[in-house]
């Protein structure tokens, strides 16, 4: 006690600055001590947790493999016993997560009849019920995880519960719902997109297209409702489908979309008209050329590069002096092909050195 008293007396006699430094040092030391103890506890907890996960993982992996390799056409008593054991395990969230992760780990790596057996085990062990409970969660990421799980195990029966999340305010959830419908119902459910109000990002669209292209049956239903959707991103997605599946039948809808309010859509339409070689659209595009945006004009000139005819000459001459360099260059290149004499005569007529340089370039390339 007297030693402590001496320390406090000595501390009181110290100058204020030294007292502050000692106090701060003492507080920091205590904080570090608390943090070290906290980290030690956390590390021990995580290690124990990991060991428990490994133990259960090994146990369930053996159950799964035994289930898959039990020789029987119909469900054997051994398989029934495994299902019953799993049914008990999945009541516990911790164990349930391990079971699901094991089933998924294997399902993603193998193909063939075993995949069906894994799927059957998922259903028989009662995991569908828990995935459906996730869909009712207040946390969006749990809902998204639930939908993804249902997609991965191909649970078609959850259709009605998933559909209500198509316009979920969180794009991650709506994307999972869209992938669920496309992955499980293929082209049948494509029409649902026409009513989707949320925007499909480019990444969402790429993912949907990737899923669609994996199916054996590539017969596309009528996508007119999608092309006429009020959702711009849905129209863009439908246009991508038109291009990928070469939907020449959509010609009339594409012509209507040339007057779409979005410039990006109009440009995309011109690119698809070019891809599908719909030359009937040229006259409309020529008429609207002057009132179009520069991006649309460039898209049309690119189209003209592939679809030019002798009849296009007056249009080309009209746009020889376009302000955009690329358009001007393309016009000269096309003109050189369809009427070389006219092209050569330009050199004499035009006195601007820059223009003459362009003509020389086109002439020599």
């Amino acid at each position: 006690m007297s030693y402590l008293q001496d320390v406090f007396e000595y501390f009181d006699q110290l100058p204020l600055l030294i007292q502050i430094v000692w106090s701060v040092g003492f507080v920091l030391f205590q904080i570090i001590l608390v943090l070290i103890i906290y980290l030690k506890i956390l590390r021990t907890y995580l290690r124990r947790n990991e060991e428990t996960v490994e133990k259960f993982q090994s146990e369930y992996e053996h159950l799964l493999i035994n289930y898959l390799y039990t020789d029987s056409d119909s469900e054997s008593s051994e398989q029934k016993e495994i299902i019953n054991r799993l049914k008990v395990c999945v009541n516990n969230k911790f164990k349930r997560d391990i079971v699901v992760s094991i089933l998924l780990k294997l399902r993603n790596e193998i193909s063939g009849e075993m995949v069906d057996a894994i799927q059957k085990l998922y259903i028989d062990s009662g995991l569908v019920k828990y995935a459906l409970i996730k869909l009712k969660s207040k946390n969006w990421y749990i809902v998204a995880k639930g939908i993804r799980e249902l997609t991965q195990f191909k649970i078609k029966e959850a259709h009605d519960e998933v559909v209500i999340h198509l316009d979920h305010p969180k794009p991650e959830v709506s994307k999972e719902a869209q992938l669920y419908l496309i992955s499980l119902f293929h082209f049948e459910e494509l029409e649902y997109l026409k009513n989707v109000k949320s925007q499909l990002s480019e990444w969402d669209q790429i993912q949907l297209l990737e899923v669609l292209q994996k199916f054996d049956n590539q017969e596309l239903p009528d996508i007119t409702p999608l092309l006429m959707s009020e959702n711009e991103s849905v129209v863009s997605f439908a246009l991508k489908l038109t291009k990928i599946y070469n939907l020449y039948d959509m010609k009339d809808e594409l012509m209507i979309l040339l007057t779409h309010e979005s410039k990006e859509i109009r440009v995309q339409v011109i690119e698809i008209l070019n891809h599908l070689y719909i030359i009937d659209a040229k006259s409309v595009l020529k008429t609207n050329f002057k009132n179009s945006s520069e991006d649309e004009q460039i898209a049309f000139i690119n189209m003209l590069n592939n679809t030019f005819e002798v009849e296009d000459e007056p249009f080309l001459l009209e746009n020889l002096h376009h302000t955009n360099f690329d358009i001007k260059l393309s016009v000269l290149k096309i003109l050189k092909i369809i009427n070389i004499d006219k092209f050569k005569s330009l050199k004499q007529k035009l006195t601007q050195p820059e223009f003459n340089q362009m003509i020389e370039f086109v002439e020599n390339n």
Binding site: L64, Y69, K105, E109, I110, S111, G112
Partner: protein
């Protein structure tokens, strides 16, 4: 008759167990490694007649395992690599390093068994 030895290098423990079960049922002796480092140790210790290896693994990749077997241990034993979608370039590298066959994931265990039987004669 002694069983033919196979080293399986695969970081997915469930898949390893499934393949072990399948191949042992057919009379092979399986040594399982969960990464490339363990695979090299098992190959050096057990002198297997076949190696099955995933390309992407912790510590040492499947490509390094192939390179070690062909260039350092100078073994001519058949090597089958497992690859996932999008690893086409890796597969080409594996063949350049001396792999004999490949299987793209997801694959059928029955198909793997046929290939193993063919390679081990």
């Amino acid at each position: 008759m002694t069983k033919k030895k196979i080293v399986l290098a695969e970081d997915n423990s469930t898949l390893s167990l499934l393949l072990k079960f399948k191949l042992e049922k057919e009379g092979y002796q399986l040594f399982i490694a969960k990464d490339g480092k363990e695979a090299i140790e098992l190959i050096e210790a057990n002198e297997p007649q076949l190696i099955l290896t995933d390309i992407m693994m912790p510590f040492i990749s499947g490509l390094e395992v192939i390179s070690h077997v062909r260039n350092k241990l100078n073994l001519e034993i058949p090597i089958v690599v497992f690859s996932a979608a999008g690893q086409e370039e890796m597969v080409l590298k594996a063949f350049n390093l001396g792999a004999n066959d490949f299987m793209g994931k997801p694959f059928s265990p029955n198909e793997l068994l046929i290939r193993v039987k063919r390679l081990l004669g």
